[in-house]
Amino acid sequence: MKEADKILGKVVTGFAAICLTGALLTLPADAAPDIPQGFDSDGEKIFNRFDETPLAAMTGTDGKRTLDVYYELRQYPGSPPRVPHDVPLSFSGDTMKCLSCHGRGGYDVNQNAYAPVTPHPEYESCAQCHVPRRTEELFVETEWQSIEPPRLGRSEMGGSPPPIPHSLQIREDCIACHTGPAAVAEIRVEHGSRGNCRQCHVPMIATEPRKEFTRNN
């Protein structure tokens, strides 16, 4: 057995114990005729994920993933995170290997951690956007800056549901990131049993391109 396979073997075995049953999440193929796919920011995704995810998998946290850890992997709010764990060099194109952990989540023995669930399992060429780090050195120092990550808990009134502070593009599936044991502790919801997230949480308009409202006189 090659070294790479051994590592992978362990990961997969670790998963088998706790992995959730069922096939990977797939989007339904049959939309009503003439209705474009993915309307309402792919709102359908939330309902599909909700249907297919057992309640047990939406609760609990190991508390290890925090916002600090989350942003450490990113270059600006919304950038694709880099891969923080070892990836065998030959681990190049077989996307099912990524999705075997990140498709539905689960516990990984090697890392002693739960795998975060991707909000976009329909994109299979994972290494197109997510790359590991082979060195920490830079080629040339950078003057890159970006904005502060969005503040949490921006309810309009005490206790009212906070708005969605990020773009929904490629991150339409609330349940993937905001529930379950791998969810970032600060943004995990306590009410995973409610499946219609955008009933209460609405996108905050300042994070999207927008036109100023004018009244028609």
Partner: protein
């Protein structure tokens, strides 16, 4: 001495990089980026095409204050529909490398000195005048780029070809797309793909010819995978010389020996005819058969010249020509089993399947690049699988505006924005639009890119202005051309955004604005013109490449040809340029339409984009009353060519017993001058390496990460071995990505080229290996 200056700069750069690394990672940082002070936290978004490859993804650049702080895929852009790749998502970081060139520099007494940019522009204008007086108009040259914006290339052509009267204008797209152009011209008489990316959703079969799309055109590759997932019965065949990510994701990977794609393509046609899978109605109405010269050489000698002599042949003669390419005979040449050849032929031949072929550098950087382009068109023409949704021979480009600026504006020695310099009508049209006296444009082409750098070495060219490209990494047989550029009495001007090995040989460096720091347009692989505004202010004295040329042109006395103000010049240039394409075969969208939309396809006729050219249902330029009209050729037909298999210029032998193949990785774009300054990308692939087959590595006694010396007749490079890494070459081949200026693999490559397109073959030369 220039050489001393160069090595000094290099060592200084290395020192500062190490210092920088120490200060950036004092420990684990709290977050992945430095926080902007006094920012509202709100981002405003503006559209642009991505800065990198020829796919032409639409991006939204997120602005906070006067800084670009984020990127999203543009959901309104039909190319990528909101998705990007890792380069696109981090593209704005390429603006902010600490060593951005912000001041002009001029060499004084052997040392580069910072000067006001106006002074540098004076020096350039004076030097052009002086060189022309001493050595004639053809001693000055402009070498540009498929990353030039359309206005950049347009004003360069207008100044050099029109005002100065020299055809010494070339661009690096000669190194990447010239064979695609000559392929289109010889088969169809008009350049650029007939299809569009929508073919991806319509096709049942994809064959990628020598094309690792998973890394090189990742967003289109994802579109292919998504279509396969949705439709289930989609087949992707990877036909290549090396096993890659694309092979892994494909349904079948077929490997062939270098250069033998010519034989396999002919064998596929042989099988199509033998099984009578020919679409006779299409072939009789819309094609004609031809042959050209054979044994056409490789161009490795100075002053090489070649002119093809097309002759008409009959279908029977074509069929006889194919007798040399039975699957069994071709199996012996190519290493592809007769069974696999027949399988490929059956996919193309099945009338119920729509087939799209994709290719890029594998077929273009090829000593018979024009021929292999012709041969793949043959397959699509014999089966009539062309110019209809999903049936598409699709030549992809590598640079964001290789199509827009180089092929459409015509920044190659023989080209004008409309037509070629050899044609009187084309010269007259240009002279009229440019307000120049008749006879201003020289009817004789001068040097193609390789010969231009040879002319610089010989001394026929004394002044060269290089913009938006890095030839001191990318020229094949690099040692000769770098030594040539460094000779006394050669004057090199380089406009760029970062220090590179090319600015190291410069006598004047102009600091350029980059991408969205200026207004401009790119043109992508599917005939889509993409406008972007000036979104971010450029740092220091940076100036757009267009404006640099305008400033120099005015200093040379051409105010009349370059009259525009700085707040309006892009729009004015566009509307002037558009006059060249004022016909239904090539009409371009007006400036206001380009500004409003996320890219517009040409021909843009009566307010409508043309998705599929030559198809009467979709293309208003077609003659009415016929289903297809290949109007590029006088006979209204597409040409099927009898082109034989011929070997590479230099194949492995007893002494140099390995093929050397070169290319890219997804993280880095071309010579890495931008992507290496993006932390995520550099951290993922910090240096180049040589991929070896595991058995070859074991014979050599090398394990992963050990050093290997790669030696050719021209030079050598020593670098780390990569075994079972990103890609795996077959036995007898090594592969090296060319992005890393510390390992200049082009000192090893050969400057052989396709005699028709003059595009060098970076994929094939002979090397030997030593454990270092």
């Amino acid at each position: 001495m220039k050489l001393n200056r160069r090595s000094f700069i290099k060592s200084a750069a290395a020192g500062s990089a190490i210092a920088a690394a120490g200060s950036i990672f004092p420990g684990i940082s709290f977050a992945g980026w430095q926080k902007q002070e006094d920012a509202s936290g709100n981002i405003t978004w503006q559209k642009a095409p991505c800065r990198f490859c020829g796919t032409g993804c639409g991006v939204l650049v997120g602005m906070s204050g006067d800084r670009a702080v984020a990127v999203k895929g543009d959901p309104n852009c039909s190319v990528n529909k909101g998705l990007c790749c890792v380069k696109g998502f981090h593209s704005v970081q390429a603006l902010y490398g600490k060593d951005r060139l912000k001041k002009a520099q001029v060499r004084k007494n052997g040392k580069m000195v910072e000067v006001p940019i106006a002074e540098a522009l004076d020096v350039i204008a004076d030097k052009i005048k002086e060189t022309i007086t001493k050595h004639g108009k053809d001693s000055v040259a402009m070498y540009g780029s498929g990353q030039w914006t359309i206005p950049d290339g347009y004003v360069a052509s207008k100044l050099f070809k029109g005002c100065l009267g020299t055809n010494n204008v070339e661009a690096n797209a000669r190194l990447c797309m010239a064979s695609a152009v000559t392929g289109f011209m010889t088969s169809f008489g008009i350049d650029e793909p007939m299809g569009c990316y929508e073919d991806i959703e319509h096709a049942d079969v994809f064959v990628t010819w020598g094309n690792n799309m998973a890394e090189m055109h990742p967003v289109l590759f994802s579109r292919m995978l998504a279509s396969r997932k949705r439709k289930r019965d989609v087949t992707i065949i990877d036909f290549a010389t090396r096993t890659t990510r694309s092979s892994q994701a494909s349904d079948k990977s077929i490997l062939f020996k270098p250069n033998t794609d010519l034989a396999v393509a002919n064998a596929i046609c042989y099988e199509i005819i033998r099984n009578d899978w020919v679409n006779w109605d299409f072939v009789k109405k819309h094609t004609s058969f031809h042959k050209g010269k054979t044994n056409i050489g490789y161009g490795t000698e100075d002053h090489f010249s070649f002119k093809d002599k097309p002759e008409d042949i009959s279908f029977e003669e074509y069929k006889t020509f194919l007798q040399d390419y039975t699957p069994e005979k071709v199996e012996r040449i190519s290493g592809v089993s007769a069974k696999d050849i027949k399988y490929l032929a059956s996919l193309y031949g099945d009338p119920s399947k729509k087939v799209t072929s994709f290719w890029c550098m594998g077929m273009n950087q090829h000593v018979r690049g024009t021929w292999i382009n012709n041969l793949v068109y043959n397959i699509h023409l014999l089966t009539g699988k062309i110019s209809t949704p999903g049936n598409s021979p699709f030549s992809l480009t590598g640079q964001p505006s290789a199509c827009g600026t180089v092929r459409e504006v015509g920044t190659l020695t023989h080209k004008l924005p409309y037509g070629v310099v050899m044609k009187e009508g084309a010269r007259k049209k240009a002279e009229k639009i440019w307000g120049l006296p008749a006879g201003s444009i020289d009817p004789k082409p001068t040097y193609h890119t390789v010969e231009m750098f040879r002319a610089l070495d010989r001394g026929d060219i004394r002044f060269m202005w290089i913009q938006v490209t890095n030839p001191m990494i990318t020229m094949p047989n690099l040692n000769r051309y770098r030594d040539g550029a460094l000779k006394e009495d050669r004057f090199v001007v380089v406009s760029d955004v970062y220090p590179t090995p090319t600015t190291d040989v410069a006598d004047v460096i102009l600091p350029a604005t980059m991408w969205v720091e200026q207004e401009g347009m790119y043109g992508n692989s599917e005939r889509r013109t993409q406008h972007f505004d000036r979104i971010v202010p450029g740092p220091g004295d940076t100036m757009s490449d267009t404006w640099q040329i305008i400033e120099v042109a005015r200093r040379l006395g051409f105010e009349k040809q370059f009259p525009w103000g700085e707040d309006e010049y892009i729009g004015k240039i566009w509307e002037e340029y558009r006059q060249f394409h004022d016909n239904p075969k090539h009409n371009m969208a007006p400036y206001e339409v380009l500004k409003a939309r996320s890219g517009v396809q040409w021909p843009f006729v009566n307010g409508k984009e043309t998705r599929w050219r030559f198809n009467t249902k979709h293309d208003p330029a077609c003659k009415k009353g016929t289903d297809f009209d290949f109007y590029g050729k006088k006979d209204g037909k597409a040409w099927i060519w009898a082109r034989p298999y011929e070997p590479a210029a230099e194949s492995p032998d007893q002494e140099y017993n390995f093929w050397l193949n070169t290319g890219r990785v997804i993280e880095h774009w071309h010579t890495g001058s931008m992507t290496r300054r993006v932390p995520v990308l550099h951290n993922a692939v910090p240096e180049a390496y040589v991929e070896l087959n595991p058995e070859d590595a074991s014979d050599l006694g090398v394990v992963n990460g050990e050093k290997v010396k790669i030696i050719s007749r021209r030079g050598s490079v020593t670098m780390k071995a990569s075994i079972n890494g990103r890609g795996v070459p077959p036995r007898g081949m090594v592969f090296v990505p060319f992005f890393d200026e510390s390992y200049k693999i082009n000192e090893v490559t050969l400057d052989a080229f396709c005699p028709i397109s003059k595009q060098p073959d970076y994929k094939k030369c002979a090397v030997r290996l030593e454990k270092a």
